[in-house]
């Protein structure tokens, strides 16, 4: 096994007393002395700073934006070409079988595309992009850290250093100097809260992180709370809630496929797995990702088998993410169910330690999104 890689903020995490764990080939903070539960609550109430430098940052350049966008549309079922300058969208890299190779953010940065992809998938994503896109230059950005500042106070904290951020809306992107550091900023995140992601030159990232942490409302937040925050927000984790065996339609991510890429659209299909994905969009999938609330206090985690009835012999699905939701104040989960069982309010059963316990199908997100539209 190779040694886990360090992010540019590694020394700062140790100084802050983080408990470090291996994750996607990196050594990253799972929690700080504040504890997972309090880090979660702090992010929802104030602002949390996350080191997400392990994620992949990719620039795609063609002769112009349209050139790069057209090339990416061959791999992502989304309207990349029509994305306005300085705007960002959520997209999926699909397989020929209609599965999800990765989920990502892509942004129109004027003359090029900027992508943020999952750490565990970045090497495969780069190979996929390079093998399948012609006439564009694909560059992995390895000299920049990625920080996320999330929570209702994020705007106030960041605007004190760069007033322009207050004018950004959800999914806007901009190049800004923040406290003298050149940042690529997007108003987005992975918590269900308002917030920003900042791509920062690696050699200035610790300095900027310290500046943000100096604000009384900002606390450092680890991977533990990142997971419970995104779960309550109903956001997918690739390799768990979505993967090569789930289609975008089954994952209830059909909204990320704009009309003009669907049947009858002006740029219909033309991406891997289009036949399967477009027919599922038109006709409906046989199973669907849903939110689930266990009725008792016991968390039901990934892998719990789901049954239509307490006495049923045959499983109908499984939990793909689950745990305790600190803001909800109880256990929450996501999983896949046949569409006939996927209506909110339906009671199903999960097998936990040999017992069948009830769960209720619940609309996602579990906690209301707090974006600045």
């Amino acid at each position: 096994m190779t040694e886990p890689r360090h992010t540019p903020l590694h020394a700062l995490h140790l100084e802050l007393g983080a408990k470090m764990v291996p994750f996607a080939g990196y050594e990253l903070p799972v929690q700080y002395p504040m504890s997972v539960m309090q880090e979660h609550q702090h992010t929802r109430a104030h602002a949390g700073l996350f080191d997400v430098s392990h994620m992949g940052q990719i620039v795609i350049r063609g002769d112009n934006y349209a050139d790069a966008a057209q090339a990416l549309e061959a791999l992502i079922p989304a309207d990349v070409l029509g994305l306005a300058e300085n705007r960002q969208r959520y997209g999926l890299l699909t397989s020929e079988e209609g599965g999800i190779l990765d989920d990502l953010m892509f942004a129109n940065r004027g003359d090029h595309l900027f992508l943020v992809v999952n750490a565990a998938r970045k090497a495969d994503d780069l190979a996929h992009l390079r093998a399948r896109m012609d006439g564009v230059a694909i560059t992995e950005i390895t000299d920049r850290a990625l920080l996320a500042l999330q929570g209702p106070s994020a705007e106030k904290v960041l605007a004190a250093l760069a007033p322009e951020v207050a004018g950004m809306r959800f999914m806007d992107v901009a190049s800004l100097r923040i406290d003298g550091v050149d940042c690529w900023v997007s108003r987005s995140g992975y918590t269900g809260e308002d917030g920003f992601e900042l791509s920062v030159p690696a050699d200035r990232s610790e300095e900027l992180a310290r500046k943000l942490l100096a604000h009384e409302e900002v606390a450092p937040i680890g991977l533990g709370a990142r997971d419970s925050l995104r779960l309550e927000a109903g956001l997918c984790l690739h390799g768990h809630d979505i993967d090569e065996d789930t289609t975008p339609v089954e994952a209830d991510l059909g909204w990320s496929i704009q009309k003009l890429r669907r049947q009858g659209g002006v740029r219909e299909g033309g991406f891997p797995g289009a036949a399967i994905i477009l027919s599922q969009l038109a006709e409906g999938p046989s199973r669907k990702r849903v939110g689930l609330r266990p009725e008792g206090r016991a968390p039901m985690r990934e892998g719990v088998t789901l049954f239509a009835e307490a006495e049923a012999d045959t499983p109908v699905g499984r939990i793909t993410s689950g745990g305790f939701g600190p803001t909800v104040g109880g256990p929450v989960a996501m999983g896949y169910l046949p569409v006939e069982l996927a209506t909110p309010g339906t009671t199903i059963h999960g097998e936990l330690r040999g017992r069948r316990l009830p769960l209720t199908v619940t609309p996602l997100p579990f906690t209301p999104a707090n974006f600045k539209r």
Partner: protein, 119 residues
């Protein structure tokens, strides 16, 4: 107070022993969000898994440290599992057991030995 290798503490009072898990254990587990306690009146054997604890991170089991009968469980802990993090050796106790063979406690560590164990 006595301690086990599994980070349980045992506090004998008369012919009853109160059992919980140590501060070191709750710190390692992280925020505890669920505790499932044994039935009052159950007869348990040393090494039997009788409590389930779920922290934000994972599920784990607590074993009966000695043979005996469960005479009381901490319902307040079941209702508010965070008590185990807040007051591990006080309000965060798990159950009370009447030992069938009190000499089994001779295998437990004293405070000095436990402190040495957790370093």
């Amino acid at each position: 107070m006595k301690y086990t290798q599994e980070h349980e503490w045992l506090r004998p009072e008369g012919d009853i022993v109160t059992v919980g898990i140590t501060k070191h254990a709750t710190t390692q587990l992280g925020d505890i969000v669920f505790v499932e306690l044994p039935e009052v009146g159950a007869t348990v054997s040393k090494g039997e898994e009788i409590v389930v604890i779920e922290s934000v991170k994972a599920a784990s089991e607590i074993m009966a440290p000695i043979d005996g009968e469960i005479v009381e469980v901490n319902e307040a802990l079941a209702a508010n599992p965070a008590l185990a993090n807040q007051d591990a050796t006080g309000a965060g106790w798990f159950f009370k057991i009447r030992p069938s063979d009190p000499s089994q406690m001779d295998d437990c560590m004293d405070e000095a030995a436990y402190t040495a164990l957790i370093g």
